[in-house]
Amino acid sequence: MDLFDALRANLLSPVVLFFVMGILAAVLKSDLKFPEALYVTLTIYLLTAIGFKGGVAVSEAGLGQVWLPSLAAMLLGTVIPLWTYPVLRVLGRLSVPNAAALAGHYGSVSAVTFIAATNYLKGVGQPYESYAAAFLAVMESPAIIVGVLLGKLGAGDRSDALGSSVRTALHEALLGRSVFLLVGALAVGVLSGQRGMAGVEAFFVTPFQGVLALFLLEMGTVAGRRLGDLRKVGPFLLAFGILAPLVHGFLGVALGHAAGLSPGGATLLGVLSASASYIAAPAAMRLSLPDANPTLYLTSSLAITFPFNITVGIPIYYAAARWWQV
């Protein structure tokens, strides 16, 4: 399947079409609005399900097989901010806190983008290492910490203030809802294994794709409502929000390949590397880098990079992973 088919398969999948429908709802000012409780519920479900499935997969594959690619993923997340930061500072002429915050966002990951990618691979019948959720779990936090450190050191903070805000960031990054659910469910999956899966599969696995479609309908409205802010972020961030994921995506695919992952697994590592956090990172940055402007990082991660990855990014990284292999 060439890039065109890969794109077509994605753009005509219910998940992506519902996402577009959500964007339309926001743009057309329809009064479609999901209750907050539903948003939280869907997040809890998706994170728990993906973590649990991943944990069961880890228990099947054995840590011996999982640790290397996981370590690679973690490193990737940690280093991405290190070059993203100078780029944003120099080319983007962004202030220290803004550059640091954005760097943290792009090093961290978007769980929903990852889930959409697994869903895409299922759709095109491409197998992948189902323990890949472990990559997701280990990639979310480190970049956030690095981002905060860059911001503090760049501002030449006195070490004590530094310590406290890194502690805040650590707390947010490790005990924040998303990370906690993901890691916790992973542990549950590892401990209960295939035997435990049998009982709950009908809830955590079977309806999963449909729930994702519904969730992306909502995410469409959320992203759509921010499209208005595109004017505010200027041309540089517009370009960055699309080029950064492409660069990071190919890098992730390459690294995944090097770490011995299948094309499916390499695609997922590419997607993780290309995705930008829009929940955990903003929360941590608001608290640890209060001088950074939320409009900048939220708009670029949520209104530019997220839709780009969901619609065309994923198939591109997949095509890259397959091209690489041959």
Binding site: L287, P290, T295
Partner: protein
């Protein structure tokens, strides 16, 4: 019906400040608080309640006038620079002054 004058301090700001606000109220020694989620708009743009993390909370705390001033000063110093937030006080009459 013997009532006693008190100050109600109302704080409306982004949900991320939630735990920090609770901490502040503990530190100044308020005897209680009431909290609920709201949406709103202000200088820092619209904050719709669809994503908890992007929404607002409204905190109401009833205190003696002196403590009200203390809370406002702390908000002014530590919160207004960091969070989308407003705060105001109003005069109320309570029963059982000893509770506040």
């Amino acid at each position: 019906m013997q009532t006693h004058p008190m100050k109600q301090v109302t704080i409306i700001g982004e949900a991320l400040a939630r735990e920090h606000l609770k901490k502040l109220l503990r530190e100044v020694g308020a005897h209680g608080y009431t909290l609920f989620e709201v949406e709103g708009a202000g200088a820092q743009g619209e904050r719709s309640g669809d994503i908890q993390e992007f929404g607002n909370v409204q905190v109401e705390v009833i205190v003696q006038p002196g403590m009200a001033t203390e809370i406002l000063e702390r908000l002014q110093r530590d919160f207004f620079p960091r969070f989308a937030m407003i705060a105001f006080t109003s005069d109320i009459e309570v029963l059982r002054r000893e509770k506040f």
